[in-house]
């Protein structure tokens, strides 16, 4: 029923699964972590650290593979048959979509501490050196003459966080309501000249193509771009408040049962919560949940007032339906003759 039209994709997914998961699961256990784009560097280092710990406990050395891409696309690959043992995606909505098809228990978000999000992140601003347009807070984004770069919320998980953070800001303004917030968001998107399909594409547009005055970005992507393109001259601006982004992780029950990898998969995710895992997350600019490690990295993570999706929007399902589904607020913004 689900997802049989694009059989080429399924075939590709099946081939990929075969390539990374040979059938001899007992001798050389392998794990496939299906993740989203900006976690590439973090998981490369984390996988090696976990493999060492797991082997030191007297287990055979596991082979760990990671697949990266847009969060929604990754969720679709798992639905279409990519044999992921664990998923580590950008938003709960994408994992919910997999759970709806019965691959994951419905209560997955209660299985691990902190809403199954071992690290958190937020949305910050990246501006050009010297901050010529004097952008300090969300309100500055809709000042005349400011051009804003963000990916398309329809195709990018990160962009949905950007959009919702701005909406939350608009609600907080004196006299703020859903109507004024919608107006403000419509104004914001009038000042967006390019809508890339993902966070990495937007980084390129902002940094290398020189488009826009400010780029709304994951905190870790902003730091990465700042390091990677030091010669481009960029500055990270922390707004007065932002949104608490909780990228969740979980075990794909149906796949680990079939492949006999549940113990390994669960240990892998638990290791994200260990001191080692938390330290690595902080190193890659994900805010660790562990208070001591967060405190030790205080200069990396300025204190910032963070609002949650649950508090402002009543959870992901509602936020998605109201704002991003067909006929939602985002579509209304782009109606002709507004």
């Amino acid at each position: 029923m689900n997802a049989t039209i694009l059989s080429r994709r399924s075939a590709l997914a099946a081939t990929a699964a075969l390539a990374v998961a040979p059938a001899r699961a007992q001798q050389a256990p392998t794990l496939l972590n299906v993740s989203y784009d900006p976690t590439r560097e973090f998981y490369r280092e984390f996988n090696a650290a976990f493999a060492t710990t797991w082997t030191a406990r007297g287990n055979p050395r596991p082979g760990i593979n990671t697949s990266h891409g847009g969060s929604g696309r990754q969720a679709r690959s798992v639905i279409d048959g990519l044999a992921a043992d664990v998923v580590t995606l950008a938003l709960a909505y994408d994992i919910d979509a997999i759970a709806e098809r019965g691959l994951i228990a419905r209560d997955w978000q209660r299985r691990l501490p902190h809403n199954s999000s071992p690290y958190i992140s937020t949305i910050v601003f990246l501006v050009r050196r010297g901050n010529p347009k004097a952008i300090r807070d969300w309100g500055d984004l809709i000042k005349p003459g400011v051009s804003v770069i963000t990916p398309n919320p329809k195709t990018s998980g990160g962009a949905r966080w950007n959009y919702l953070a701005f909406w939350a800001w608009a609600l907080r303004q004196p006299g703020g309501s859903a109507a004024t917030a919608e107006q403000a968001v419509a104004q914001l998107f009038r000042q967006v000249p390019v809508l890339d399909t993902g966070a990495r594409g937007s980084t390129t547009t902002f940094v290398q193509r020189g488009q826009g005055d400010v780029f709304l970005s994951w905190e870790n992507e902003a730091h990465l771009a700042n390091q990677e393109f030091a010669q481009a001259g960029l500055e990270i601006i922390y707004p007065s408040f932002s949104i608490l982004a909780e990228p969740p992780v979980t075990v794909v029950d149906q796949n680990v049962e079939r492949r006999g990898t549940r113990a390994l998969a669960e240990a892998y995710l638990n290791h994200l919560y260990s001191e080692d895992g938390q330290r690595l997350a902080a190193k890659h600019f994900y805010r660790p949940r562990d208070a001591a490690i967060l405190a030790a990295n205080a200069q990396r993570f300025p204190r910032i007032d963070l609002v949650t999706i649950d508090d402002v929007f009543g959870g992901w399902a509602t936020a998605q339906r109201t704002h991003f589904d067909d006929g939602g607020v985002f579509d209304r913004i782009y109606r002709p003759g507004r």
Binding site: L6, T197, Q211, R335
Partner: protein, 283 residues
Amino acid sequence: MATLAAAPGRTWPRQALPGLGLTLGITLAWLGLIVLVPLAALALKPWELGLAGVVDTLLEPRVLAALRMSFGGAAVAALASVPIGILFAWVITRYRFPGRRALDAVLDLPFALPTAVAGLALTALFAPNGWLGAPIEALTGWKVAYTPTGVVVALFFVALPFVVRTVEPVLRDLSLDTEEAAATLGATRLQTILRVVLPALAPATITGFGLGFARAVGEYGSVIFIAGNMPMVSEIAPLLIVVKLEQFNYAAAAAIGLAMLALSFVVLLLLNVWQRRLRRGHE
């Protein structure tokens, strides 16, 4: 009809060449498995929404705008590649100059290049701070990247080789006799080209146009970087399909895909009929 006459009572003519059963079987199996079954699945999927749902999906202003962008952009790009493509074919078939073979090979590169790479390169070139984008904007005030113009540029890039490669063999086989005859009868060079050469090339040109157009309509990778992807302005239909898939809305995605398929089929069919008519008139 110089082949063997059908024996009386047989519906299938006797074949001089053996192997009809095997080769036809393989052809039909391939056609069925790789082409018809997936297309049938695509054609069936949208109706989960019901007829009204499909119509609603297709009549959304954003979907209409995207279809207009994809088909309009592809038509403009394919039209633009007709004169340029004929010119390229003319240069590599009629003249001898150093580097001709290299040029000939380079013309095929767009076929082999991953379209995303082409898109990135074109965007870097035509971006407002790019080598071409900056001077063009300074001189004419015209933005190329992140506008519908950028879409057409990317589609032109993928459509052009199809025109070159369909026109070129015909041009090469075109005998010089007719051109010489025209010259003897007092035609100027321009008259010869307009009245003798181009009509002879017309069927091949239409084929090249059709192939380039079909390729450009479905193009995704090269366009996505340069388009800017602004809804209602520079959003292409394949991107909307991706957007629908991103919402796990397979049926709506298939509905747009089916609409594109049907529209392309109609366009290609009309081109085919026109081309046949021209060819018959020419002979």
